[in-house]
Subunit: 551 residues, 2 copies
């Protein structure tokens, strides 16, 4: 118990404890004996919890800018305690009398944010037991699976006149036979999240049924090529189950031309699914919403709650433009989910589920749309700042102009740097060995930075249309409202230190002030997001250890 | 904030507030306006939270014995606060440096409980990055889906010599073509949980691909008929993807003859999946474990964490006897889940996930196997008590001898009661109108009892082999360690009051003392479970409102 505050303090100082390998941690979790006699709670707290926490990742550290997991509003942990104590199960109103309707309301609010239907639509929707405008899921992967499940069951639906019960009842083989299809595919950018592979496998079309379409230099899918692929499939009697558009690609933050994709989908009567797991909340921002135009034409949309909606880990959402389509996947059971009831369980992939919509309900109230807007605008600003700083250096190359708040860049070692930074920079002059050298330099840099534990960016291997090959790149996600310009300076400073072979001289927040890009720091920017979040953030303290008077 | 303690107190007195309809609650959650300006947290707590909580279901009320959702150990809500504050994401070690290994350990502990492999097995397992003995999921539905996904991908796997990449890559149509199958099915008891329907649909074999086999008078699947169906499928070139055994049917608590099913699966080289979502934890009990013999031969097993493992809502587990089989569904992505890493995300259906294994880790330590054993034995004892009490009455008919802690019974209205309770009771003398009358009486009784809000049992429609027809029955699940004999007395007392047309005279815990079955109450029974849980239970207080000194 005594160590807990120490853990909380560490969040501020480092991403994780350095010098502890995964193997060393693994060795602490090797026993598979289940003890017979209970351990006292006190002993458990004193012995187990600190050992676990001290080597956890401080995901909310403001210099952990490599993953989509950041900090939460300060009321989330106590709210999680409340949700757990209430133990509502939204599979059925009998175990979630009020939480059921709260979930329907929250989902409808987000439906309105995306699809902007009129008041009458929502009034009817929320009184109707046979439709749903969306559902809360355990995450974005589940939401993507459900979106494509709905797409498949819609594309290969019942043909009552023809005596076919639909793929939902009769399966894929019968569906292909009935409709004369030789196969079925899902098409979308080669940057589609790997959860789409899971979906394609699960849904029975195989990973090869997920057809990746090339993207352009801005990492947006080539819509013409996508349409050609759709036409080619049709000509071969291959059913196109869905077109997937990306609103915030995991690796690049790029957003496909959703309007153009929607038009293709409409022309060919194909289901249009938008994976807005990361980017969906940009709709709250007047500045960023135009990037997502076309999302309102999607049939289904994935938005992650535990990313930029700032819900705790384990919250996703799948939204349906047409709430009737939820019936394409509905199931009933006589003992639990009767037709005509308000029970959510008959429409959701998951059965027993916690009342996670409560977190979103609290955020909608306590952040408000203006809070979300400021948070979105703020992280985009920090991302632009980082791109600007990197671009001003000789050492780094920014791989694309960020569309939202994800940045892809790489370190250029000497002498490659000189070749690419000259008057007429060209990739063509690089030998295979030099390409390999750049990749290796970035792998070494990222691994070293990760091992040091003070700052963190992630790493990926991605095809670059400009480089005309797959490259290793560093990836930054600005999702944590605690991250500010000074943190960015430190991350870059740390990378320069590592690549220059210097030993660590990072002495926290003031060291970066001397760096040459300091002048770029616009201290006049709106700091509202940061200040707001500091008041709201959970990363500095663990509330159940304190008196609750402040809550 | 002031109302919160009031809510907590209500848990003890009622299941939910009476006289409030679902429509009335719905009307409170109709607005889809997202407010622009944030509400203060104080205002939110004071206005929204009580309104939500006052009409929630007190699932942990000791007289709510109708669903599988009960009370939790008292340390669960604060632990949930900690898990939320830590915000680990076990998709990847970079966001869950220690929690990843904790999950692998906890899952291996449960693997050992089921499959009892030797120490060397677990030592190798926990060092290996390319296998997994199981995974934590968002619930039992997801676990069942994963189990059957593994089954399907194994049955229709790659045939490298034949140039076939497997269903995982090439899809179901290509698999059927390659292997010459006309279809694919999953066979199991007609009592299979409705999540299996979802799995069959998702996996592309359609709901009709889920073949329900009749069960006997004890509600256990007819193994001979099941084997005949397997043979029939084989003779028709239909691939049997899996045989499903049930360990604790949702409606009846019955356990299939898992040993016999395992033998059938072995004889025909079919994947054997056991749905032990409810019943799995009976393995902790020396008295009950023999019921589950054969489970150790399963290829995959579903166990729900949020049922009898007393984890918070949203926790399931899928266990694999052979940890290598996890590769049948593995997926990778260059930016996040690299081959050879310890990242759990490449093997799990879900991507970003919370560190829910922590809850199980705490329970294994703080309840111990003896704690689980006592809790299992205790609930089975209460269930037998209820069956005995009901059987001793004229008014009720117990539909099967409970195998664990789920009870199925029904009320018999007059004059049907006399016909069935005579010297030679027989269902054959009943007319269709009389069958209908019994059903209607049970529907009315359950609805009235539910509306009153003081006590709760659930209701189902299930085929009864003894009645040779589908009947409406009342369903009781004894899963809450707070439920004791006096609560059972009150539930039955309330039902008798309702059916006799009396007005409510239930004045809490002492009224039941006068009932005629009071003599059956064995007050000498081991109360350890109850006392243990009272110390541990969360339902009496919401911890974040209190000083944490006691934690």
């Amino acid at each position: 118990m005594l160590q807990l505050p120490a853990y909380a303090a560490q969040c501020e100082e480092r991403v994780h404890a350095p010098g502890v390998t995964e193997e060393q941690i693994r060795d602490r979790f090797m026993s598979t004996d289940i003890r017979r006699e209970p351990m006292s709670l006190k002993a458990y707290i004193e012995s187990v919890i600190p050992a676990l926490m001290n080597d956890s990742t401080a995901v909310s550290c403001s210099r952990q800018i490599g993953h989509m997991t950041g900090s939460l509003p300060h009321y989330m942990p106590p709210l999680a305690e409340l949700v757990t104590a209430m133990q509502q199960n939204v599979v059925k109103t009998e175990t979630a009398k009020a939480a059921t309707f709260l979930e329907k309301q929250v989902v409808a609010c987000l439906h309105r944010l995306i699809f902007k239907c009129d008041a009458a639509f929502y009034d009817t929707l929320l009184r109707d037991t046979e439709t749903l405008s969306g559902m809360v899921t355990s995450g974005g992967t589940t939401a993507n699976i459900i979106g494509l499940w709905i797409a498949r069951n819609g594309a290969l639906g019942p043909d009552l006149a023809g005596g076919f019960a639909g793929v939902e009842q009769a399966g894929l083989l019968a569906a292909a036979l009935h409709y004369g299809y030789r196969g079925a595919v899902i098409v979308g950018s080669a940057l589609m999240h790997y959860s789409l592979k899971k979906a394609a496998d699960l849904l029975g079309i195989g990973v090869q049924g997920l057809v990746p379409i090339p993207y352009d230099e801005h990492f947006r899918v080539n819509v013409d090529e996508l349409e050609r692929k759709v036409l080619e499939c049709k000509s071969k009697n291959v059913c196109v189950l869905a077109i997937v558009g990306i609103a915030g690609a995991t690796e690049t933050g790029s957003v496909d031309d959703l309007q153009a994709l929607a038009a293709v989908a409409r022309r060919h009567s194909v289901h249009f699914h938008v994976d807005a797991a990361w980017g969906g909340p940009c709709l709250f921002s007047k500045a960023m919403a135009p990037t997502l135009v076309g999302i309102e034409s999607a049939d289904t949309v994935t938005i992650d709650g535990h990313k930029q909606l700032f819900m705790p880990m384990g919250c996703g959402m799948l939204m349906l433009r047409d709430p009737n389509k939820v019936r394409l996947v509905a199931k009933t059971a006589s003992y639990i989910i009767r037709k005509g009831s308000n029970d959510l369980g008959r429409f959701t992939l998951e059965g027993s589920r916690p009342g996670n919509a409560f977190y979103m309900h609290a955020n909608l109230a306590c952040l408000g749309s203006i809070g979300y807007e400021r948070l979105m605008d703020r992280s985009a600003r920090i991302c632009r700042y980082m791109a600007k700083v990197l671009h001003s250096t000789q050492e780094f190359e920014v791989m694309l102009k960020p569309m939202m708040n994800i940045l892809l860049y790489r370190y250029l070692p000497m002498p490659v740097r000189e070749k690419l930074r000259g008057a007429n920079p060209s990739y063509h002059g690089l030998s295979d060995a030099e390409w390999e050298e750049i990749d290796q330099a970035n792998i070494s840099l990222q691994e070293r930075q990760k091992a040091d534990g003070k700052t963190f960016v992630s790493r990926t291997t991605v095809y670059s249309p400009r480089c005309r090959r797959s490259i290793v790149a560093l990836r930054v996600v600005i999702g944590n409202p605690l991250t500010e310009e000074a943190d960015i300076d430190q991350v870059i400073s740390e990378q320069l230190r590592i690549t220059s072979g210097e030993s660590s001289d990072l002495t926290h927040s003031d060291s970066s002030g001397q760096l040459h890009w300091r002048a770029l720091h616009d201290s006049q920017q709106d700091k509202c997001g940061r200040h707001y979040w500091e008041r709201m953030s959970s990363n500095a303290k663990l509330f159940f250890l304190e008196d609750s008077a402040g809550f």
